[in-house]
Amino acid sequence: MLMKALPQLSDRAMAQSSLDVMRVRADFPILQTKVHGKPLVYFDNGATSHKPQIVIDALNHYYRAENSNIHRGVHHLSEQATAAYEAARGKMRNFINARADQEIIFVRGTTEAINLVAQSYGRSFLKAGDEIIVSAMEHHSNIVPWQMLCEQVGAKLRVIPINHEGEVVMEEYLRLLNDKTKFVSVTHVSNALGTIVPVKEMVAQAHQRGVPVLLDGAQAVPHLKVDVQDLGCDFYAFSGHKMFAPTGVGVLYGRAELLEKMPPYQGGGDMISLVTFEKTHYNGLPYKFEAGTPHIAGGIGLGVAIDYLAKLDWDLVTAHEHRLLSYATEALAAIQGLRIIGTAKEKAGVLSFVFDHVHAHDVGTILDQEGVAVRAGHHCAMPVMQRFGVPATTRASFAFYNTIDEVDVLVRAIERVLKVFG
């Protein structure tokens, strides 16, 4: 890291002690966009993040210079594409500190990763009367796959309540864990509230009872350094597109020991070692779970996004994001009639808010006129909206390329909302 490399705290080191946001912004061409004649202020990173030029270039380069199918050609291009794709797997292993490349399954995104575990692990190892625990602040993609599994095998979904700040009530979690519990699936960072969930402790508690745990890391990976071995989880699911990589590619990390025991999720090419009409032998990990031609360019782009993130000083990134969130929280809390939804002590990247007399959609439309992009709605977390008794919220979600000045634009834009609605 830069700070440590410098011999002493010189003026230069002082200047480097905060993230050079302007330099970072120059890496993301879309940030130059004008919206309704005003500079784009992109606060919808929770929905998807933007891509740095080198990721965009990687997609272009793949189709121009390497395009061919992987794992099957003996020709030059196929070898190159295979090497680039598999190199991305290695980068990803390193990025989340998995033990081996074979524990990195490339999927379409978080949703597919969770469905894979629910259908492959769940249908094989859960039965009628078993219980699955999720929290009350899950995204629909960490609720519905388990409901589908419950219908298929007769298992029961149990829900850990959250308190008024939007934190998991740990005593309730411990009460829900019992001999019938056969799986726990919780989010690492809440997409609607920004809460950082104490997942390491929750994994440890589940493991005391021998219960495997999946963590939904979709909103965590862009903000936190994730170490799957340190967290101790059995599965970790996330999407590339929220971490500055292309859409359509994501990762399921699974402990090899569990993945080995699980049957394939989809059948097809690449996931087999021998096919006859009498019997098919499945391929080994990770290919057993990667049927069909994957999003090769996306996978390579994901690898390049990891290269990009690795060059950033994450202590500075974390400090900058923390400053953005606390500055925005303070500025918005000062606006009359505005109520922040999700006030957990540990939060990352998300600020959700409501007005009693203005609906989130009207807020979103007026903010857009000022160039400010936010999400307005239920954030695919309808039970969270229900818990807080609101139909929808406006959500500003940050990335490291956002600035304090942009937060000021948001505040002024909200003032315009109040002018329209009185």
Partner: protein, 150 residues
């Protein structure tokens, strides 16, 4: 007038703040629910239909200013109208909201509802404005499934 001012005109803000016919109706003989699954807007429309005439109409639900004002304006426009007039109005309002250029005089055919014409500049909000209309359409047809903007 800016596009935004055109969208949020005084009349719309007023109907949002004090929606007309915003109540449940015990004597309704037609009723339908409408959802906008993308945003969670929800409306129930109640109709008392006698000999093909909308004798009474009301709504309840939650949603943004556009969806609420549109529902309120709709109930005011449809009260006392017969089914075929209602159907024609539905079609013209739909054309106006979606900016259908095939009929450049459509705003003249919708009377007071032309206050909603600003919506067509905001494609993301067209469904907010049309939800109540889809719902009343379902109510008049007696459809069992909730209406949806999808």
């Amino acid at each position: 007038m800016s596009e935004l001012d055109e969208l949020y005109q005084e009349v719309i803000l007023d109907h949002n703040k004090s929606p007309r016919n915003f109540r449940a109706m015990a004597h309704a003989n037609r009723k339908a629910e409408g959802y906008n699954p993308l945003c969670g807007d929800h409306v129930t429309v109640f109709v008392q239909l006698e000999d093909g005439v909308i004798e009474d109409i009301s709504f309840q639900g939650s949603g943004c200013a556009i969806s609420k004002a549109s529902a309120s304006l709709m109930t005011a426009a449809l009260k006392g109208k017969n089914e075929s007039v209602a159907q024609a109005l539905f079609e013209n309002v739909h054309k106006m909201l979606t900016g259908d250029a095939s009929d450049d005089r459509v705003v003249d055919k919708v009377g007071k509802l032309q206050i909603l014409s600003g919506v067509c500049k905001f494609p993301a909000r067209v469904k907010c404005a049309s939800l109540a209309w889809h719902t009343v359409n379902a109510a008049l047809k007696g459809e069992a499934q909730p209406a949806s903007t999808e």
